[in-house]
Symmetry: C2
Subunit: 210 residues, 2 copies
């Protein structure tokens, strides 16, 4: 038997609270990153993307330009392009979207696109299409963390943690990848299947559990 | 400090394993339950549903008949009817489906349909439509349990538990309602948003955590 008194109970509660950390949660809809070469092929040589909204991660923005994504079974229209351009094009969808397209996209971290399916991208305004031979992924759930927050939370780049998201349908997401970078603002990123599964709203917060 | 020896470690592992219970997990797609009156209005007086596949719950079956569900923003075609008929019609969709229809359906247990939205149901073969004035829900995650399993698992009707689902994207679903009935076969039911969020496949198993 443990002996118990009010001081030890209070101390244990305080320690438990200290170990728990709330973070912002964002749901990412389907989107496209384009290489300069693919951007020019779709929109014309030397084309510049039109930023319309800054994203939470510094330097990243949603663009006015929209494209259509087409697979063997169907299409997704009005898909947003995120800027700036990247070395390689990448299309991020949900597993639900994959059923519409008729393609089984693997769950991968952004940038990890070796041996992933290709897909057709079309600019609906001029009818120009490209076929990328890889780059279709379902984004693996992850948390962007600034080095300061990583130290405060006691986590490091490359590890995985669990996070509880408070919504109408509370869920603990396991196997959440930690990505630490001095350019990051701390935020959990889940996709819309995950967002709907936990009843996510814009005010939903995450609690780091381990 | 606790004193430790191999016997106490083994005993603690065995107790931990005993407390953990694996169960079958099933993902439910969108579907419709019809009252006799609504069935007759859509398919004709005295119409009998055509069972084509038994479901895991004894006496429940998928039917050959399909309907179209229409909301203010869009439609879902080819939606399966589950039999037998029920006292009240009920349409179960995912939150993703709700975006297609343009209706915000509440997360509810089956049968709990007071103050839920209505929806239009159409028989595409004869063009007949009905408008139900309530009954559109997103099914709240739940587990059907036989009385024997409930006793074995130490859970009772009406409580909520947590369950971990092992898939490509491991998730712990909290707030899972326990429903005990002598006619039930033990199975966890989640919807397709939840299934996609955990990388569910037909072999995914659930582990009761509490």
């Amino acid at each position: 038997m443990n002996t118990c008194n009010i001081e030890t109970v209070v101390e244990s509660v305080i320690n438990e609270l200290k170990a728990k950390v709330f973070v912002m949660v964002e749901a990412s809809g389907r989107h496209v990153h384009l290489s300069k070469q693919d951007l020019y092929a779709l929109f014309g040589d030397g084309y510049q993307l039109t930023p319309v909204k800054d994203l939470s991660q510094p330097g990243q923005y949603a663009c006015a330009e929209r494209v259509t994504i087409t697979g063997p079974k169907g299409s997704l229209q009005n898909v947003v392009i995120l800027g700036p351009t990247r070395p390689e094009s990448q299309v991020e969808i949900s597993l639900t979207d994959g059923l519409v397209l008729g393609v089984k996209a693997p769950v991968r971290l952004s940038g990890d696109i070796d041996n992933t399916p290709g897909i057709t991208i079309t600019n609906p305004k001029n009818g120009k299409s490209i076929i990328i031979n890889k780059g279709l992924i379902v984004a693996k759930r992850h948390i962007h963390i600034s080095p300061e927050d990583a130290e405060r939370f006691g986590v490091s780049n490359g590890q995985t943690i669990k996070i509880k998201v408070f919504g109408e349908r509370p869920v603990i997401f396991e196997d959440l990848d930690v990505r630490v970078n001095k350019n990051f603002k701390t935020a959990v990123h889940i996709d819309y299947d995950e967002a709907n599964a936990c009843g996510y709203t814009k005010n939903s917060m995450g609690l780091i559990l381990s």
